[in-house]
């Protein structure tokens, strides 16, 4: 057997330890929501943006703020309101006097210029403002006027949306939804968790997580995760899962034909494989398996597909339909 490079072992060991540290720190501020925490970490290491959905008060903002502290990344919070303008997000050119008293135009950076951006209640902003986020989320750069500004890596957008307030909200367009690698749903905590939350917040309302990792470390972790091998069969399985969401295709499973109105884009397949690699490495595996794909199917697909009235009539949720899809898609 070929001797294994010790350096490689160290790299992977460091990866696992870092992830553990992040989780431990986040648990100081966030009670429960283990799956959400795990998936956010996967998304961040994978380089994707996350959409967090939940009723008010479940800890969405707290989680993201805590994450910002843990990752010791420049953090900014944008509270989206209906009157928020695109320039309020990206920044704008202003005319001001320089030291010589001359009037010059200079660019004032908006809150988007951070490594970790919390876009709170993103569905309250107008479509125009939402579209300002499109370029940023996908390409990590902003164009203002004729100038393009590149954002520092790693860059993440963690957006929250409140499903309850229907009035005054603008549903996110599919194109923007597709930019989120995951959509995570924060559920109401259990009684025990709520007790812990109450007890914790009696002590302090501030986040107490410490910084344990920085931007370059995240980038190293991302690079390491990208090296995790995936066999062709697993890749094809992920692809079949995504193409199976398109009911118009002959190869799609019966449940897709019956319950799905719109299917997922190819970005879903990319997200599945990228995040599956991270998940495998976090779990101590050095290869992606079918199990990794299955575990990430829900967060990757739930905001990318649209179920039809038949599913609604049968009281099926999007997650239920995704589960059926996973069950009916064959592994080879």
């Amino acid at each position: 057997m070929k001797q294994v490079n010790l350096e490689n072992i160290e790299k992977v060991k460091k990866f696992s330890e870092t992830v553990k540290l992040i989780k431990d720190e986040l648990r100081k501020d966030v009670v429960g929501q283990n799956e959400i925490v795990d998936n956010i970490i996967i998304a961040i290491i994978g380089g994707g943006n996350v959409l967090l959905e939940g009723i008010p008060g479940v800890g969405k903002t707290r989680l993201v703020r805590s994450l910002g502290r843990t990752l010791s990344l420049p953090f900014s919070r944008i509270q989206f309101t209906p009157d928020l303008m695109p320039s309020d997000v990206t920044g704008t050119n202003v005319i001001e006097k320089d030291e010589n008293g001359k009037m010059v135009s200079s660019f004032r950076k908006g809150p988007i210029f951070a490594n970790l951006v919390l876009a709170d209640e993103i569905n309250r902003a107008t479509p125009k403002t939402q579209s300002a986020m499109l370029e940023v989320m996908q390409e990590h750069k902003i164009t203002v006027g004729n100038t393009t500004y590149k954002l520092d890596e790693p860059f993440f957008v963690l957006a929250t949306e409140n499903p309850v307030e229907q009035d005054g909200t603008y549903p996110l367009p599919e194109a923007q939804m597709d930019r989120f690698v995951f959509k995570l749903v924060m559920k109401f905590p259990s009684d025990d968790e709520l007790v812990d939350i109450v007890n914790m917040t009696q002590i302090t309302l501030d986040e107490t997580a410490n910084a344990v990792v920085n931007g370059p470390t995240i980038l190293e972790m991302r690079s390491l995760a990208s090296q995790v091998p995936v066999i062709d069969e697993v890749t094809r399985y992920a692809v079949r899962l995504v193409s199976g969401t398109h009911a118009e295709l002959a190869s799609s499973p019966a449940s897709a034909k019956k319950y799905i109105k719109y299917g997922a884009s190819p970005r879903a397949a990319q997200a599945l494989i990228t995040c599956a690699k991270v998940r495998a490495l976090i779990n101590g595996n050095y290869n992606v398996s079918y199990e990794d794909i299955d575990a990430l199917a829900r967060p990757v697909l739930r905001h990318r597909i649209k179920i039809n009235y038949t599913a609604v009539n049968e009281k099926l949720t999007t997650d239920d339909v995704i589960d059926l899809l996973v069950k009916e898609t064959k592994r080879k």
Partner: protein, 520 residues
Amino acid sequence: MGEGFKRLKRLYLREAIIKASLVYISVALLVVATFLIVIDKGKIDFNIFGVFSIGIGLGLLLGTAVFFLFYRGDKHFAKILDKELELNEKVQTMHAFRKEDGCVTELQRAETQIILNCSRFKKSKRITSFVIFGLITAVAITYFAISLFLYLKRDEPNNNIQNDAPNTDISRPDEGNTDQPSVDDKFEPTEHHKKELEQLIEYVSSSALQDNAKASVILELTSLLNSLDTFSTESALKARVVEVIKSVRATVDSVNTTNAFVGAIDDSNHKNFNQLCKAIYAKDLSKVESTLATLYNDLLYSKVEQDGEIVEVVKPKEELENIKGELEIIKNILNMVLEQSTLTENDKLHTLITELCQVLTEIIDKSKSINNVFTKLTPVLNGTFIDGLRQLVPAEKTNEDVKVYTVNELKRIFEVTSADLGELPNSGETTPDGPEGPEEGPPESENGGSYGDGGNNFRSEDLVIDPESSQVDIEKIQVEYGEILSRYETEIMNNLDKYPEEIQKMLKEYFDMLKTPIDK
């Protein structure tokens, strides 16, 4: 790929080979055993060497298929390992990226190799798998053993071919047992029965039997052939054969309209007309023509002596009323026949007779001289009527011949006797003698040794002199030689295998030749 992988692969290949071998043995034994049972039942005739070759060949084919089902290369084996050892695609990844370098790839490979080095296949699963294959092989061996035992038992010396042949005891007719229905015993159709029946069907197909009758007869015979295997007793088979014989007779008789015509004839007072009817019934065209000619001549000519010779001269005109009277008698007989027979307007004979009656009516009502009678009667009687009969009689003769042959063959193949058919002894199929034919016993031939009745169409014709008219006439002579000959034939055909090939051919040709009617 690592020692662990290679070790497990060796184990797996060994198992695959064993399983493939068990499948090969099982399939070979099952195939051979099945063939032996089928040969034992007499359903096919196959060389034992050929049977073993087929079994071995099929066994090899399926055994190889099973081997490749279990093992199709390292990639497939990696998949099997992942599944059996629940390794979540580790081995497949190791195999797919075996030539790649990379931080995580190397670690993955190393980890998987370590896991495989310590892994073992699950014993319980292996044991279950082998037990199943073993059971299948055991069943195949048992089945083969039983079939081999039955096959060998079948080939014992006292179980020879003659047991399959129909009983052709020559002494049977003297014992007078032919008229008794056969005793119920187990019946198993042999290849001989089927071959004979197939030949008979072929004969009928290629014969000139009228089309609508042919289709029905072939259908009956084919139905009999297809149902041979369903009969378990001889009596059941004979009952069915009797039904087929009756059906064949009825089918042909229904298309032979002259039978229907003659059946309605009473013993006519008019001698020549009566003889004409007999000739038509006998399907004897030459006699029909001669009798018709005689009828015509007797009507219009008289024999006188001139210069020491008997010559025919036209009757004098004073005879006209007598001629008309005779024609009236003939016409009345014909009309009566039409009424009493089963002939319909569609039958050709009906048309001929009707036209003749019309001419006769015209002659009787309108002819004022014998010349007029000539003018009207000649083109009909010696023209259209005889032409019509010339077409009808031979065709119906052919139908009759085919019917006789078919029935006689069926009787011979399945040993159906007159008693089985509910007929009197020696009342087998004969060439028709006219309406009173069946009651007459077969006359002896002057030449002797000719073919006769007794259920076959072996017959010959001899010239005899009619004592009343001193005219040379042709009579049909039937003797019982045919029955003896058919027994010879049966005995020989059942044991044909024992003769060399060239002799077999000669024998077949000899008996076929004997069956062919002699041309006039």
